[in-house]
Symmetry: C2
Subunit: 112 residues, 2 copies
């Protein structure tokens, strides 16, 4: 069993085109997670994840901060306790609309 | 895309032997989630999830409250921001050691 605080996991800049966004891979391939992986994203004020689509789904849960999740023609407010299911193939991004970091968990399947 | 606050999802008593524990199925079969499901557990003061093991893994992230995750011969403190990977086959339970609800996300694979 692995039990840690997320702050013990190194934060890396997001590799894709993203603005002011870091990611910590909390539960990943190195842990032999067999089916899905847990990441914690931190989007700074004014920052956003890339507006993109892909074949795999996201399961998101907001931990801290304020923001929006933006799809094709709509935007929904994000605050702590909001969760989102983004099916594969739907265009999306998440952005920080507040003055403090937007932190959210985002899980993806192992096979992508 | 589904975007909601967890409080919009009905809380149900946990079906297995558990003490003072409710679960909200945030992302589940009804959402056509293809690979894994997200639940939010609320364990009241003095409560605990069952001490058990099963073939599938858990991926946990603590949202609110204080508690412990207990395995075979060890116990680790839980507080907001702590995450846990419990591989399949490892005995475990989570318990509330504080005076307020312990709330955590727990994800499981679709095939169990």
């Amino acid at each position: 069993m692995k039990v840690q605080h997320y702050s013990e996991v190194e934060a890396e800049p997001v590799k894709e085109a993203a603005k002011n966004t870091m990611v910590r891979w909390l539960i990943a391939e190195r842990d032999n997670a067999p089916n899905f992986y847990m990441r914690l994203f931190e989007v700074g004020p004014g920052g956003a994840t890339p507006h993109h689509e892909h074949a795999w789904e996201h399961e998101v849960f907001v931990v801290e901060g304020e923001g929006a999740i933006v799809g094709d023609g709509f935007s929904r407010k994000l605050e702590p306790g909001v969760f989102a299911f983004v099916p594969g193939g739907e265009v999306h991004h998440l952005e920080n609309t507040g003055a403090t970091p937007l932190k959210f968990i985002c899980l993806i399947p192992k096979a992508q």
